[in-house]
């Protein structure tokens, strides 16, 4: 939506779209129908599209969808214990989640990525023994590469924990310890911060 009044549904994206959109650089224009010229970015893809009979352009709408998907996958965060996995495999909200304690809230390892876990199997057997399969089925933030790509701060006199992602500048996650409140939101230019390793 451009004005918080009229909302349009975004369609889910395909893998190729994601790859192509990753290569587009620069700010978003603000018009969903703006067309990026693919030939500048990726000549092969442009050629493929022209062969197929379509124009070699990417619409900004597609780029927007792809960016949202990337952000969600890369830095969507939830606290540990907020979601449980049943033995049948389905994941749902833990209605008995009381929030993290103050001690746990300060540790980066108590927050998880809310996407398909990638690193779980790589953990040592010793670590796996400590895991509780109903709550620890997601990747923790601790092992994100590059190290230190999250900034964790206590605000408002220590009542709110704020996590800020340095990879996608503008992604902020908040949680009030000992309560059920948490959430994340993105305000920003929609560009990945590729300079991160230089900046740390």
């Amino acid at each position: 939506s451009l004005n918080c009044l009229d909302w349009s549904l975004l369609t889910p994206t395909s893998k190729e779209m994601l790859e192509l959109a990753e290569q587009l650089k620069g700010r978003f224009q603000g018009y969903p129908s703006f067309e990026y010229n693919l030939a500048d970015v990726n000549a092969e893809a442009a050629a493929r599209l022209t062969e197929g009979g379509k124009e070699p352009v990417i619409k900004e709408e597609a780029r927007l969808i792809a960016t949202i998907e990337q952000i969600d996958r890369a830095v969507g965060v939830v606290p540990r214990g907020a979601f449980v996995k049943t033995p049948l495999g389905s994941v749902h909200e833990n209605r008995y989640f009381e929030g993290l304690s103050l001690l746990e809230a300060k540790k980066l390892s108590s927050y998880f990525h809310f996407t398909e876990p990638v690193n779980l199997k790589n953990k040592t057997l010793l670590e796996k023994a400590d895991l509780d399969p109903s709550t620890d089925f997601l990747d923790s933030l601790e092992h994100d590469i590059p190290r230190g790509s999250w900034s964790i701060q206590l605000e408002m006199g220590g009542t709110v924990v704020v996590l800020r992602s340095l990879l996608w500048l503008g992604l902020t996650f908040y949680h009030v310890p000992m309560t059920k409140q948490f959430g994340y939101i993105y305000f920003g230019t929609g560009e990945k911060n590729l300079d991160l390793p230089f900046m740390l």
């Binding site: 620069g26 700010r27 209605r95 701060q153 900046m199």
Partner: protein
């Protein structure tokens, strides 16, 4: 027909004395009661490990469930069970009192409490008479206008900042003060205040430093003189001297002008004491342009980078603040005018409010960027606002060096001219095809009260608003410039030649035996000739 039910089988509940259809078939009630008692006894059996028994545990759990009535209790029954067991550990009456835990929230609140204490008004009045009213910025008003655009901090935080600015004004001799913005850091954030001190304050420290610098220079010169004399006497082959002459140091601008026009105070959180940032040197600005680093939140943290940054995080912060101010501080055109008419030509730095300023309507401020102008001088490549020729400084050095420098580097130091002070922002270059500024209304629905908002695209996080006569600039962000390409760090300079190659050092092929013999015979011949000459001379002398 159904047989007699034992207590654990379904259908048990139908057993009411006197009304059950099966009474004649079930063995006498005593056996039933016995079965019940056995079951209950089993449940009451105390666990050898924990001292609990299942009967009580069930009773507690059911009480808890019926009290709290959580949705879908059957799904979370294990958690409930765990919680009930855990609750056993909490003793109601304990002879030992828990140490009074001070929550971190409480500590933070204590610090903020100090902000709310009203100062005794007596000291104030004396100061006010002497120096005139220091202007405390109305942070809440500015916050209100920015809030129209969705920019800004939480109201509570703004108020804390307001109070801590008030404290700052009480402590330091401040003439004007402004909330500059907030820069985010990894561990802690920075709240920054832009301040102008009263004249005469704050300069004492600087002279001390200058004196030290001069003394050091003199010592160095003396040292060099001695070395040269030594060389002439001894003529030992010394390791080749480095021919590297570092580029002359560009002197920093005076306090009160150019990049150091304002003094900045920072604190990590409102309530913490304000720390003054040191003035910025051109070398720091030049280096800050080449690096891109996150702030950690600690002012004494080192900045590890290439090219090596001359200073720690406080200096880097100051340099970024200077760049951001120079790039994004704007005001409606005509709001400020030059203080002296003569100085309109480029060097003028003083400006004052224009009493005849007529604010253009908000619609015009949004549509045309020509209604906004920078009121901070642009920083040149050199790192200063006013260009200075560095080779002029070498008057103190020996004359030889002077000439050399001018020859070599006179061409390179072209005079840099920056844009004059009140440049309209419509002339700001964008980056690639992105304009430098984006202007918007705060609201399209209520045009009479809407505010013109300006967003910088070169420094994401810098905003300005204007509503009639009121305007302000602010920055909320990480403190970095926007670049569509990735940041490429500077490459290290090419490896210097260790020594100039000359015939004395270059390797040549060793002479063969024949060559050596030939050389030897030639030498002997030469010696023989010399002896003859020598004899001749001696003869002559006589």
């Amino acid at each position: 027909e159904h047989g007699p039910y034992q207590p654990h089988e379904p259908g048990y509940g139908l057993d009411q004395p006197g009304y059950s259809p099966y009474e004649d078939e079930i063995p006498d009630p005593e056996a039933r009661m016995l079965a019940i008692k056995n079951a209950k006894a089993f449940l009451l059996q105390t666990s050898t490990r924990s001292g609990l028994n299942l009967y009580d545990h069930f009773a507690n759990m059911l009480t808890k469930i019926l009290d709290e009535q959580p949705p879908n209790p059957v799904d979370i029954i294990e958690d409930i069970s765990k919680d009930v067991k855990w609750a056993q550990f909490r003793k109601k009456m304990d002879t030992l009192r828990d140490e009074h835990l001070i929550l971190p929230t409480f500590e933070a609140a204590e610090k903020c409490k100090a902000l709310f204490i009203k100062d005794s008004g007596e000291q104030h009045e004396e100061l006010d008479e002497e120096m005139g009213q220091p202007s405390l910025p109305n942070v809440m008003e500015t916050a209100y206008y920015f809030e129209q655009a969705g920019i800004g901090l939480d109201k509570g935080e703004s108020y804390y900042i307001f109070l801590s600015l008030k404290n700052l004004i009480n402590v330091q001799p401040i003439q004007t003060c402004r909330f500059w913005g907030k820069i985010l850091g990894l561990e802690m954030n920075y709240i920054i205040a832009e301040v102008q001190l009263h004249e005469g304050e704050g300069e004492e420290e600087e002279t001390g430093e200058e004196v030290e610098e001069n003394v050091a220079e003199e010592e160095k010169e003396m040292g060099e003189g001695e070395e040269e004399e030594g060389e002439e006497k001894e003529k030992e082959p010394e390791p080749p001297k480095s021919t590297y002459k570092p580029p002359p140091e560009i002197p920093k601008e005076e306090n009160g002008t150019g990049t150091n026009k304002y003094i900045y105070f920072v604190c990590n959180e409102p309530g913490k004491p304000w720390v003054k940032l040191p003035p910025v040197t051109p070398a720091q600005i030049v280096c800050a342009r080449k690096i891109k680093k996150f702030f950690t939140g600690r002012l004494d943290a080192p900045v590890v980078s290439f090219p090596p940054f001359p200073g720690n995080e406080a200096n880097y912060l100051r340099a970024q603040i200077a760049r951001i101010s120079a790039g994004t501080h704007v005001s409606p055109t005509g709001f400020y005018q030059f203080a002296n008419e003569d100085e309109e030509e480029e060097e003028g730095d003083l400006y004052e409010e224009n009493p005849d300023f007529e604010p253009p309507p908000v619609a015009e401020m949004v549509e045309s960027l020509a209604t906004w102008a920078h009121h901070v001088k642009e920083i040149l490549k050199q790192g200063r606002c006013v260009w200075i020729n560095p080779s002029l400084k070498s008057e103190e050095n020996e004359e030889e060096e002077d000439e050399e420098e001018e020859d070599k580097e006179g061409e390179e130091h072209e005079e840099e001219r920056g844009l004059p002070l009140f440049t309209l922002i419509s002339e700001d270059e964008g980056i690639k095809n992105i304009p430098a500024w984006t202007a918007q209304f705060s609201t399209n629905l209520i045009p009479q009260y809407s505010v013109a908002i300006l967003q910088s695209n070169r420094w994401p996080g810098a905003y300005a608003f204007a509503a009639g006569r009121k305007f302000d600039n602010i920055y909320f962000g990480w403190g970095h410039k926007y670049s569509p390409e990735s940041h490429t760090p500077a490459l290290p300079p090419p490896v210097q030649a260790e020594y100039p190659s000359g015939p004395g050092i270059t390797e040549t092929v060793d002479p063969t035996v024949e060559e050596e013999i030939a050389f030897k015979t030639a030498q002997e011949d030469a010696l023989a000739e010399e002896e003859e000459e020598g004899e001749e001379e001696e003869v002559e002398d006589d």
